[in-house]
Symmetry: C2
Amino acid sequence: MRSPVMQCIGIPGIPLIQPGDDLASLIAQAIQDVGETLQEGDVVVVAQKVVSKAEGRWVHLGSVVPGPDAVVLARAADKDPRLVELILREANEVLRVRPGVIVVEHRLGFVCANAGIDHSNVAGDEEQVLLLPVDPDATARRLRAMWQQWFGVHRLAVIINDSHGRAWRMGTVGVAIGVAGLRPLSDRRGTSDLFGRPLQVTVIGTADELAAAASAVMGQAAEAIPVVIVRGATYDAGEGSLADLLRPRELDLFR
Amino acid sequence: MRSPVMQCIGIPGIPLIQPGDDLASLIAQAIQDVGETLQEGDVVVVAQKVVSKAEGRWVHLGSVVPGPDAVVLARAADKDPRLVELILREANEVLRVRPGVIVVEHRLGFVCANAGIDHSNVAGDEEQVLLLPVDPDATARRLRAMWQQWFGVHRLAVIINDSHGRAWRMGTVGVAIGVAGLRPLSDRRGTSDLFGRPLQVTVIGTADELAAAASAVMGQAAEAIPVVIVRGATYDAGEGSLADLLRPRELDLFR
């Protein structure tokens, strides 16, 4: 049996992204500038931060007037009430609060800390914060279509990733917040193991595993390496979206 | 800037593991048989299943007498009371129960479904189940020491991984349940971003990201590809253990 090899190729050289920038072209150019290209079956993982920047998702805290809910919550969370106001606007629901962290269901459907609002590494101005992308699935689809043309490839997948904290375990890991061209879950129910018995652990979070692999390459340098080509991964091509990765509330034992 | 590349090289050809097998030698041999070797900085990720098999962690359900707690819980979980008895013996605490799943804090300290007891892909006998390894950190340290000698490398890390379900998200992902030779968390607190501001999301679950990357290569074929060499990853070498990855109970908002 041949050794399967999955390569995660970090793409440096992407300029600091400005609102309105053509992200697809800038990334395609950077891929070519390092002597790379996209091949059939590649998965391109893009850090949410550059997507948000291209979308101009900046908010200046000076422009935010906190409502009464934000003022109360800010006290419990020991946070800037204007930031809390933005967190509430970006959230469907607040799940937990303790000093330093407000865990919410984001309007995009996933659970994360502080609605994913980024305060670091995003601009020279302390008062500027960056919201998550408007619709990461749509962005992934758009990037995919552009790159299919640009590089002349058909079987291509795109993942927008972000770093999330977790219940029970320390440290953030990369997860997918937008996908295109792949089924995020590899459902092996109905298949058998080596002994012909139905497989038990049968639904694999493939998109999240690939998002985590890319995140390991982006590392703390997500600003310097915001794009990773994952080559040689096994995944199910097809339609898919973030929604596939979200546990329905009624099946979630940890809300 | 050079493109950073992380390679995940799956190692096939490892025989079905029997209790008492010398796992370190069998894996080393398989690495050589595919024309590979271990290099400075490599991280070897080993699926827990082969560790458990080498340790002979089989239990025949016919030998298990369920206690009264197991009988009650089995009814709520719609599971075999003998299996539930084993889950309870392997658990520090039961966190949640619903039909088909018992979420526990495992005696090793992490939270997982059904105490990680594996029923599929492990033997021809429906009544045989496989418990998790006794002490995955110790196994990782032992494998690391053996392979440092065998391959003449110094900077080497070993991760034992498993596939875990998660709160909030669908699909399992690979996580580390034992480590040696690396710090599982990359703590960047105190460092600055590109603009000189302190980094916010600063503790990265590096070992879990590498475990997930390897898991993507093992895929559903963890029986066929139970070992993955991760080459070119950025991590902090040093002492580390599973305990570093476990969120202290008093800081966990989702117990």
